[in-house]
Structure formats: C-alpha cells, structure tokens
Amino acid sequence: MAFSRFTAGAALAALAIVVFASEATAHGTAGARFFPGTILTDDPFVADELSLPTVSRSPKDPDGARETGIDWDLAKRITPDLGFSIGQGWKYLKPGGGPGITGFDALNAGLDYQLFRDGPREAIGLIGLHATFGHTGRIAVGAPDFTTLTPAVAFGKGFGDLPDSMRLLRPIAVTSNLSVDFPTKTSSAGAANPNNFNYGFAFEYSLEYLQRQVMDVGLQPPFNRMIPLVEMAFTTGLNRGAGGQTVGTVQPGIIWAGQYVQIGAEAILPVTSATGRGFGGVVQLHFYLDDIFPGSIGRPIFGN
C-alpha cells in the first residue's frame, strides 16, 4: 500500500511539473556545453537516444564469479521536457569453479523530467522515477523476484564560466546522480533486500570543447571529438543488515562523440573488497536518434 501511495504521489508530481514545462532543446546540451551520454552515470537530460549494445565484463566478485553482459537502453522524449527510458540485458554468469549460466537480466524503465537547463552556466538537471521489475529475468543470473522503485536526481555542470586565468580548465564538466532504492520485498530466498543509497559521478574533459570554445590546438579527427573521463558509482546499504556496506567501481575511459553516434570504452576497477578484485571493461555504441531521425522518432511524441 505504501508503494501504491508513493507511485501515485510521484505520478501526480510528474503531472504537476508537466503543467509548468518550459521550452527545451534536444540532446545533452546546456548553452555551449555538450554532455555525452555516459556509460555508468545516469544522464542529467532527457533525450532520444539508443545504447545498443553495451558489452561489459565485470571484475571477479568476492566469490570468484564473473559476469559478461550485453545490454540495450532506449531513451525517448514524450514532451520536450519529459522522457522515459527502458532497457534490459542478457547476462552470462560464470561462478567461481562452476558451470556458466545465461539468461536475461531484469527489465528496467524510468520516467524523467528535465528540471532545468541553464545555458550561460552550462548547468542541467532532472528528477526521475526508475523501476527494476521483478520476474522479468532469470533469477539464476541475478534477476530479482521483486520490483525496486528508485527516485533519482541527476545534475550536470560545465566549467566554461571559469575566469580567463583558468581557461584550460573550462573543458571540464561534472555530472552526478543520486538515488535511493525501495525494494517491494524486504527479503528473497532468505536474503535481505535493503534500501540502498546510490551515488555516482562523471568527470569529463572535452577536447571538442577545448577546440571550439577555448583554443584551437590543431587536433584532427578522431581526437577532436574525444572526451576523456572518469566515472565512479557507489551503492551503500542503508538497513536490513547491509547498513554502511559500500560497493562501487571507478571507470576511466574515453568517449568519442560523432555526429550521429558515439562510442565509449572504459575499464572497470572495483573500489572495495566487497565489490570484487581485478578489473573488467565495458564498451558501448550509442545512437543519437534525434539526429538520425530528426523528423520522426527523434522528436518528442508531443510538442516540439
């Protein structure tokens, strides 16, 4: 019942926000700043974009198991400021010493509202409600038998307004997301399902911004569209025996943002012993649907 009230409240809040919707632009831009779609950190903008595929290989977890995943995610604008996302993945789980298991992971979806987009300050932010649905994947590979609701906020800030003496730092941008998991079951198969606090950051240095906003240093393709970045994401348990336990990864890498597509590649490094050991990696192909299909599925369903 509590979740029904919560869901209804979130829906009402989203509806109220839509009433005050303001004009917005497509893509992850705020003024002169272009924010790429990052692999690990939730984007602070609604968009018409498709990640297909995201291929990842995790570090070994503390039990020696390792996952290989192939995921897809679609983000679609309903109005210029309201968007939904949906995604799922296929997973190959290789337990330490045991035979491998394959199957689909849980289906996830979200509804996001573009809270603000401040061009002069290169700032952008959204609020959203995301859900991971129970019984939509194979439990043997880790898909849950319960649904988790996750209200979230995400922000982005470019540093193009730094003083002239620090102009070489203007290509830096930071995005961040904060969210809390509310599982709809307190335990599954004898294991607790805690509330979790999730927080992540992406620190980016845009060579494209350096070239067109600060100083043309003569970079040629493909380097003039590269964005070196470091992403990090953490999850801290809040209760049910997991209070204070933190898992997380740091992911240094590079995104190349082209005209219609971007390609990202990152290493995956665990930051706590509870997360795992060794390293993994992830690569992603990401399509800008608003640029590929500007007159059809790349536009908001309602409004422009």
Partner: protein, 117 residues
C-alpha cells in the same frame, strides 16, 4: 542484431540524417592571436546551417558590442558563416555565435581571439 545493423546503416549512410551543428573551426582560429585586423570572421560548422536563424556577434574584452557587418552564409560552403569586420584595434575580442542546423536543432557557443598582441 537486426537493430544493430539497421542503426549502423542509418548512422553511416551519408545524407541520411542531419545532426546538431557544432563549430568545427574558425578563421582566425579559436584562441588565436593575429598580427593585424582580419577583414572577416569565418566560422565553419559540422553541418549545413539555416542562415535566417543563425547569427554571429562580436564583443570587446570589456563586453561591449563591436559594430560589424551582418553574418551571411558562405556561398561556397553551406556550413560556414562569414562576418564582415571593421578595422579592429589591438586587443582581445569575444565571438558569440548561435546557429540552427538544417534539421532545426539549435546550438550556440563563444570563443575569443586577439589582434596585435
């Protein structure tokens, strides 16, 4: 897999779509110092642009506007704008631009260059 192949074909097919227009390069170059006042500014973008909804303004380092001609599409390049300039005194200048690409996406930006320093 079909989606992947379809998406790749669309993304890699020339002329199949039109994206956001970002500044590719400029003359004088972004952040450059030139010995003498240039007769024009040329801004070359990554995509063809719609000149009716695009513009370029010049400001001094102090922020005051500098009177210029009107930015127009380069007749030899539908992705370039040319801004006629008066004779500029030595100093630093800021170029503020905004363009709308052929698919109606709006982008904007700014950069500085210096004359005679």
């Amino acid at each position: 897999m079909r989606w992947l192949v379809f998406g790749l074909l669309i993304a890699l097919t020339p002329g199949a779509a039109s994206g956001h227009a970002f500044l590719d390069h400029a003359v004088p170059a972004v952040g450059a110092t030139v010995a003498a006042s240039p007769p024009t500014l040329q801004l070359v973008f990554s995509e063809p642009i719609e000149p009716r909804f695009s513009g370029v303004e010049l400001a001094s380092a102090a922020g005051g506007p500098v009177a210029t001609g009107t930015a127009a599409l380069d007749p030899r390049n539908p992705a370039a704008l040319v801004l006629p300039l008066p004779t500029l005194m030595p100093g630093r200048y800021r170029v503020n631009w905004h363009v709308v690409s052929a698919d109606t996406h709006r982008t904007e930006g700014s950069y500085e260059f210096s004359v005679g320093r």
